[in-house]
Symmetry: C2
Subunit: 337 residues, 2 copies
């Protein structure tokens, strides 16, 4: 079976200079993969050369969604944008998944409009992967929804659990809910009610996870509303950058520390590689009738290739069918409750 | 002028074994400081010995609030707890500030009941300090309030700004609001409305700060609701622990890396010292008619001493008067708006 991935080559901070080389590399590494490069032919063709040409197609799209464009304007006015055309390819079955490093809001709006939601799911959620002490964790929502109801959080739990089931061939991944542990409060009303729904859901729910639990492997899937999830993600990015800066500064302090840096280099490199955020690039817009993966806008070719890999893996493992099945199963449970 | 700090010696994971030595050290280091050690005399006296005895008093309190006790139970039933007695000492003017490493919810409930709120402030907020690339930032609320109104966030801004003004002798500290940058949304309604109030407030408001801005020195004070603030704080703790674990593992991998570790040790030590969370220990319960500082429950003597220092500095710099003044100034502004 061939997996076809449509790529919005114009999206992201770097555009085709990053997306096209990543796509070529990706095709070379995966024998079962076909890519459709979407965007300005003039920008793309020179970068493709004659590489792996039998599994690389190009689809011209005359327009581009810019990074700061309003999603509603992008949706209304850019019907021939590379982003829109890539999503259309998923809709009409030419592609099994699409990937964009472009404007998140526009990608959400276009995907939702073109692909529609899966039955039983009210809103799409952005699901990303973070490293943990024991492996990794899927977290959703990372910013698509700023005001979630308990029912939305339940749906995130179902979708996240189905995703991990499909991708990692595991029967009952654990699901936790992000909460705070202050003694007086133990969370707001939405989180409390969502917890009740999750306990009753039949999912392998493990209850509350505090912020530090995110990186401790407290659960395979952690649900939260998009505001909180986005803050947690960005805060982590900021802290990691600060720590890296401080470590660099200390190693550059004087001749002795520079010597120490040379000697410690292989160790520091292994460490950096282990927590390299590029290896976690690629967040899924879950809940749509199609696979859409969002790459970080600033991703380089190495990082962008991880988003492509993620899209292909989701297509291969039948994530959508798994979610639909699980949601269908949920409905009667809810109704009899 | 002498500053008197009342210390709940029984609170925290370690109790008097940590709090008393930290208090003695603190008195030794600060000539203008007097401490009142509150708790079981039998536990405290042996630890004091004859150290700096002229500026150390002991106040017996027969009860203790346990770390997992319900705040309302602690408030109702433990009138002679070390925590309650320490807060009472602030109330009746015997102490200028109090410090506890105990149960946060109970400390909040007791402080609010005993000390009452400053006029014009609806709710107390937990204000902590985090390191940034350029210095440090005061963040509030870190977990006292899970559902904040725009007006509460405005009050947090006023209190935080007054605190930094007083502590750091700065006229107009910058104030930001924690928000998310996803294109479609740009925050929830509460944050949007709070931003409007902050723009009109006369504070040196700089607008939205995303999660990564927390560690970039984007503002001197950052306000957020307690749920989000607590998640950001705990997520940071978890990430820092994970990175430290990974770095340790890499340095212990084999003989060569262990050798590299020995050589890099002074550098790594300087780095660790720079981001040592113990140096940021001590969060203020702002908004009360009295200074109450909460230490991390797990703090060691080194960390607990930082919380004591913080309490003394706030008393010295007249933080309460500064906040009251600023709030009074705000009222007419609000009424004419």
């Amino acid at each position: 079976m061939t997996i076809t991935v449509a790529i919005d080559c114009m999206g992201g901070d770097h555009g085709p200079g990053v997306t096209v080389p990543a796509a070529i590399e990706f095709v070379r590494d995966h024998a079962d993969v076909h890519v459709i490069l979407v965007g300005l032919t003039d920008s793309i063709v020179p970068l493709v050369g004659d590489a792996a040409i039998d599994r690389v197609s190009i689809r011209h799209a005359a327009e581009m969604v810019s990074m700061d464009e309003s999603p509603s304007m992008a949706l209304r006015n850019k019907k021939d944008s590379s982003m829109r055309v890539a999503v259309n390819l998923v809709k009409n079955g030419e592609a099994d998944a699409c990937v964009s490093a472009g404007n998140t809001g526009a990608l959400m709006a276009i995907s939702r409009f073109v692909l529609k939601m899966l039955p039983g799911i009210d809103r799409p959620a952005i699901c990303g992967v973070l490293p943990t002490i024991t492996g990794h964790v899927h977290v959703l929502d990372l910013g698509a929804n700023v005001d979630c109801s308990p029912e939305h959080l339940l749906q995130f739990g179902i979708m996240g659990s189905s995703l991990v089931s499909a991708l990692e061939h595991r029967d009952r991944p654990t699901v936790g809910i992000l909460n705070i542990g202050e003694e007086e409060i133990k969370g707001n009303d939405v989180v409390k009610r969502a917890s009740e729904l999750l306990w009753e859901s039949g999912l392998n729910f493990v209850g509350n996870v505090e912020g530090d639990g995110l990186y401790k492997g407290a659960a395979d899937v952690i649900v939260c509303d998009g505001f909180v999830g986005n803050v947690a993600l960005k805060t982590s990015e900021g802290l990691a950058q600060m720590l890296a800066t401080f470590l660099r500064q200390e190693f550059r302090r004087n001749l002795f520390t520079k010597l120490a840096a040379v000697i410690a280099l292989p160790v520091v490199k292994r460490f950096k590689n282990r927590v390299d955020h590029r290896r976690y690039n690629g967040a899924t817009l879950l809940g749509l009738k199609g696979i859409v993966v969002k790459s970080h806008g600033s991703a380089d070719a190495f990082g962008f290739a991880y988003a492509l890999r993620r899209a292909a893996e989701e297509a291969r493992s039948g994530v959508l069918a798994r979610i639909s099945e699980r949601v269908a199963q949920q409905q009667p449970l809810q109704e009899t409750a």
